[in-house]
Amino acid sequence: MASAATGAPLAAPPAAPLELDGVSFAYGRSKVLSDVSLRVAQGEFVAVVGSNGSGKTTLMKLGLGLLPAGSGHVRLFGEELSSFRAWWQVGYVPQRATASSTIPVSVEEVVVSGLAARTRLIRRRSPGEAARIDHVVELLGLEGLRRSRLSELSGGQQQRALIARALVTGPKLLVLDEPTTGVDAEARSVLRKSLQHLVEVEGMAVVYVSHDPEGFSGLAQRVVEVVGGRTPVDSGRSSLREVATG
């Protein structure tokens, strides 16, 4: 239905990692997004920009099934959300200020928690999983910090641990929500290098939400802006606008 309007070919290439199609959402009565469509192809790096409160985080949560879309369709790897099960294909780094935790948790525990859904009671960790853990720990420069308590690390180190958690299943789609907010320069450059590796070597699709273009410039193939959202005159609606091609 919406495909005709956006001019997309009818026989779309199979299994786009993420596809939102005519999606609307409101928190109670306050409309945030209306009739938004976004398609992220395999191996594509899409940056999502927009002012504070425009609905970027909401859009990501809709795409990941954390919020129920009021209308429209959401598909992950071609599968409707309601029947999607292959969650290991998806990595998510939520937006946050700091990784707060009342109970101490080590970096290794955070990273391994990404595998929770795949852990069996009897079976020990498989060699493949152990190798994957080592790989992401190394990729994000966390080797010396595995046993450290998360809350005692810098904001940048914490964020790297959360990214490692998202990558530990070997996902084919990675969604990062403001990954460089409150993060030091070292973490920014580590993140940049690892994203480059993930896209170029592992062929991962990346959705990178940020209002700071520095983090994705030179990496993003497409920049999409969430517009509107803030002014009450606008009735709180946001729509997407393609901004540029990088």
Binding site: Y92, T102, E108, E109, L115, A117, L121
Partner: protein
């Protein structure tokens, strides 16, 4: 006089130490989720079950278990429907204690029996009652072990856990049922109003000292069990109320852990 020689003391030691060692295992997840008071609320609901059991002449443990599990299911459903606001939860919890006392007074349950359930009366337990407590505790340990990775992932970050494929709704349900089991298991030993403290205080103490979740869990469990043993000994020699003594020892552990952390921090700085 060696208190371990008396059989009523042996029963008290087993019942209190076992439930106090298991309570923090469940408590860690509710503390991490910012719901430290859920155990307390469940205690209120359990009291409704106790009152109902008195009224119909059933076993108070069964009544409490039925009511807390039902309330737990209701809370989870309300949460899913977005109705589990602070106020709705408070209504259920206060309704529980009001209904419980209404039933209990109609059933003319003795005041000492009610006080025993609210504040614990470990010295009056029978071996079959101790067996039920140990059974509940073992069942909780089995569930925690089986679901451990998923529970940790969910407690630490519910949204990320969902995207990682953890069935968080079912984990919340399992956690709520386990809270009910601990409350009921600790009811006649440590007391409905005090058992929830053993879900939270040892966890708070261990959190000061540990550097991993697993380490915190093991330490909290040890602190819980040790607080029960030391508390019972203090209660025995000084003739204090056992439930109160156990919880106060746990609080002393928390204060000591906090002080220790302050000292070691300063030494490092």
């Amino acid at each position: 006089m060696n208190p371990f020689e008396f059989e009523f003391m042996q029963r008290a030691f087993v019942a209190c130490a076992v439930i106090a060692a298991v309570a923090p295992l469940v408590g860690s997840f509710i503390v991490q989720r910012g719901q430290s008071l859920v155990g307390d609320g469940m205690g209120h609901v359990a009291f409704a079950g106790v009152g109902l059991a008195f009224l119909v002449g059933a076993d108070p443990v069964l009544g409490a278990l039925a009511c807390t599990v039902l309330a737990g299911l209701l809370l989870v459903r309300m949460g899913r429907a977005g109705l589990a606001g602070d106020l709705a939860i408070a209504l259920i919890f206060y309704g529980g204690i009001a209904v419980g006392y209404l039933f209990a007074s109609r059933a003319q349950a003795g005041q000492s029996r009610l006080v025993g359930l609210l504040f614990g009366s470990p010295l009056n337990l029978t071996w079959p009652e101790v067996g039920v407590i140990v059974g509940l505790a073992l069942a909780v340990v089995a569930v925690v072990v089986a679901l451990y990775p998923r529970l940790v992932a969910m407690a630490f970050d519910e949204e990320a856990a969902r995207v990682a494929g953890v069935p968080t709704d079912r984990m919340v349900l399992a956690l709520t049922v386990m809270v009910a089991m601990v409350v009921v298991g600790g009811m006649s030993s440590i007391g409905l109003l005090l058992i929830s403290a053993m879900m939270v205080v040892p966890v708070a103490a261990a959190a000061q000292l540990a550097s991993s979740y697993r380490g915190a869990l093991v330490l909290a469990s040890a602190i819980g069990g040790a607080s029960a043993v030391v508390g019972l000994l203090v209660a025995h020699y000084r003739d204090y109320a056992p439930g109160s003594a156990i919880v106060l020892v746990a609080i002393a552990c928390y204060l000591a852990a906090t002080a220790w952390r302050g000292v070691t921090r300063r030494a490092l700085a």
